[in-house]
């Protein structure tokens, strides 16, 4: 009874706990928080030596790669799952605190949280536990492709196959959905992070320059593309010359980035192809008619849909506002969670 009263005071939340960004959807309010999944932890010395959280989210992300030795900037999520349990818990706690207005009662909301479809039982358990540790009274898990499909507005409950490709920061999720359930779910641990990594490695190899994660991400967003286009764009980048050890500026073109991204993109393409291979023929016919929908931050990579179209020969569309698809899908599931059973994932 008491918990019922408390849940009356605290709003239910849907959380897209992503490798790159964490989005929180509050029931009947919409998406209220969209911050990078980054935590900065300060090590205090002296007599009261302890670790404190210096910053969370956007603020912490700006410290990434710029922090002194006393501050560690951590991305507690890796490949879509928890890499650092305690820090994830603290980060969630801070985010939940941010979205809760009432200061009087410590919030204990019901939380829907999404997990990669390929995550193991241990990884799901970790996410559930960290959400409970962050103050949730109940935790429901939903698989990311399902949430993405709902958020993209696909007819998930109908007897027609819908294919969704969610390219997140850590993982790429491919799901084929029909009648409110997942017919096929595949997950490869390739996402935005791997693309950034590929750019860093490429520049290091070919230019002998070291660049940071944020710079790499910036390059990817500005001139990155997945398919050779007509126009070639260029961008000026600064990094540290490995040979000289001095910061230098150099210019890099979109074709080079395309070359850098070939390998991770091929992984994504093969994940999509293998999903298509394993789709039952009736649903495959629906998918051939409608094509697949791209969601997640990776869908914003220029011409990624062209690449998938050429590789698969199927129509590919990019969802509207792909970055928030998963969070919106979780939110829709949250609004109707008392009536829905089939869309939630088991442990």
């Amino acid at each position: 009874m008491f918990s019922f009263l408390r849940s009356y005071f605290s709003n239910d939340l849907a959380i897209d706990l992503g490798t790159a960004n964490t989005l929180i959807y509050v029931r009947s309010k919409g998406i209220v928080l969209d911050e990078p999944s980054v935590v900065a932890i300060r090590l205090e010395g002296g007599p009261n030596a302890k670790k404190t959280i210096q910053a969370v989210g956007r603020e912490a992300k700006e410290m990434l790669g710029k922090a002194p030795g006393t501050i560690t900037v951590i991305r507690p999520m890796k490949d879509g799952v928890i890499a650092d349990f305690t820090v994830t818990e603290q980060m969630l706690k801070q985010f939940i605190k941010k979205v809760h207005d009432s200061k009087l009662l410590s919030p204990s909301p019901r939380i829907i949280i999404c997990v990669p479809s390929g995550s193991t039982q241990v990884e799901r358990r970790a996410i559930r536990e960290s959400a409970i540790g962050a103050g949730a009274s109940q935790v429901f898990l939903i698989e990311e492709p399902m949430a993405a499909a709902i958020g993209a507005g696909l007819p998930v409950a109908e007897a027609t196959g819908s294919m969704v490709v969610d390219i997140g920061g850590g993982t790429t999720e491919v799901g084929v959905i029909s009648l409110g359930g997942m017919v096929y779910a595949g997950s490869v641990r390739v996402g935005g992070d791997k693309l950034d990594e590929a750019i860093i490695n490429y520049i290091s190899r070919n230019y002998g320059m070291l660049i940071g994660e944020n710079t790499a991400e910036n390059i990817k967003k500005t001139i990155g593309s997945a398919f050779p286009g007509a126009e070639v764009r260029e961008m000026e980048v600064s990094g540290i010359n490995k040979a000289e050890g001095i910061p230098r500026k150099f210019t890099i073109s979109s074709n080079e980035i395309l070359e850098a991204l070939t390998e991770p993109l091929n992984n994504i393409v093969s994940a999509v192809k293998s999903a298509l291979e394993k789709t039952p023929p009736e649903l495959g016919a629906d998918i051939a008619d409608k094509g697949m929908v791209l969601t997640g931050g990776g869908a914003l990579l220029r011409d990624l849909d062209r690449l998938l179209m050429e590789e698969t020969g199927l129509p590919v569309i990019v969802a509207e506002e792909p970055l928030t698809c998963v969070a919106r899908g979780c939110g829709l599931a949250l609004e109707k969670m008392d009536k829905l059973g089939s869309i939630f994932a088991s442990d």
Binding site: G291, P315, K336
Partner: protein
């Protein structure tokens, strides 16, 4: 022209007026796409090839025939792709799309007209459940009965029944009533005058009372409930004794006048409130011990001296050998302990 394109999708919708506003100013999205494609000298087959759509779908897009296309999300996506292919601004075109195509909240629950749970096989059967339920019900009833039915329920019922059915027994019961109430067998021999009466009228009074005045009958009834501590066992004895004694013993006939002087040797108790009384006779045996309801009277005979313990003494009047006994002086905490010689 543009209105025609929109019409097939939803001719009956009332939002036609709203949809017309942009349509009047500009050609429909499909028209714009077709014009741009023709300007580039592409055939619809080329577009279908580039977008991996079928030619039918491209034609449907250009004609604005949404019914043949797979749904709002996909229509918007296809228009976006088509616009990008033709280097038009996709956002502008998608913005001009019929507002009726705006994505509405997708239904998440699988529609079903029937909602019946399948019976579980191998699990516990429903019948077992019923048996358990019945058993529980019985237990509950038993517990309720234990607490709420008075312990002497059946005795009183039997007594009432026997009283109603056999008034024959009434005189006998009546005469033994006071002594029965005090469950002391030695009492009757100790009180010689009424004791011998009892068997005699029991047989003799049967025809007598049956034949005698009807006035006797109502009197008999309350008296004939020996085991039930009913109010007037003491007052009726007088009139009751009269008809009962009439045929049998003249000395008993004098009893009514003096309010049981024949039993002068006994203890008379009158209760105005419920009270517990215990009486021991000479031998120290308990000859009377019970809780007496308010308004009742008791007459106890035995071999004196009597040792009395009277609870709630202020509401009990004790008469011994016809004289009232003062209790208040001998009571402590409303319990009187006294010995009557």
């Amino acid at each position: 022209m543009s209105e025609e394109n929109l019409d097939p999708s939803s001719p009956s919708l009332s939002e036609n007026v709203e949809a017309e506003a942009p349509a009047v100013m500009q050609p429909a999205v499909g028209e714009q796409l077709r014009a741009a494609r023709e300007a580039k000298g592409m055939r619809s087959a080329d577009v279908a090839q580039a977008l991996k759509l079928s030619t039918r779908q491209v034609d449907a897009l250009e004609a604005g025939d949404w019914s043949g296309l797979p749904g709002q999300t996909f229509i918007r996506g296809f228009v976006r792709n088509y616009a990008r292919l033709l280097r038009l601004d996709p956002d502008v075109l998608v913005g001009q799309l019929d507002p009726r195509l705006m994505p509405e909240l997708p239904r998440l629950d699988v529609s079903s007209s029937i909602s019946a749970a399948l019976p579980r096989t191998g699990g516990p059967q429903r019948r077992d459940f019923m048996v358990v339920l019945a058993g529980l019900l019985l237990v509950v009833l038993a517990v309720l009965a234990f607490f709420f039915v008075p312990p002497d329920f059946w005795q009183s019922r039997l007594a009432e029944w026997s009283a109603a059915s056999a008034r024959v027994d009434a005189p006998a019961a009546e005469s033994s009533a006071p002594t029965d109430a005090a469950p002391a067998e030695p009492a009757p021999p100790a009180a010689p005058p009424p004791a011998p009466e009892a068997p005699a009228p029991a047989a003799a009074a049967a025809p007598a009372s049956a034949a005698s005045t009807p006035a006797a009958q109502p009197v008999l009834q309350p008296v004939s409930q020996p085991s039930q501590p009913l109010p007037q066992p003491a007052t009726p004895p007088a009139p009751v004794a009269a008809p009962a004694a009439q045929p049998a013993s003249p000395p008993a006939a004098t009893a009514p006048a003096a309010t049981a002087p024949a039993r002068a040797g006994g203890v008379q108790l009158v209760f105005t409130q419920p009270s517990w009384v215990e009486i021991r006779d000479r031998s120290g045996q308990i000859i009377f011990s019970q809780l007496n309801p308010a308004g009742s009277q008791r007459y106890v005979e035995g071999e004196p001296p009597f040792a009395l313990v009277v609870g709630n003494a202020t509401h009990v009047t004790v008469k011994y050998k016809g004289k009232p006994v003062e209790l208040s002086q001998r009571s402590k905490d409303d319990v009187a302990r006294l010995t009557l010689e």
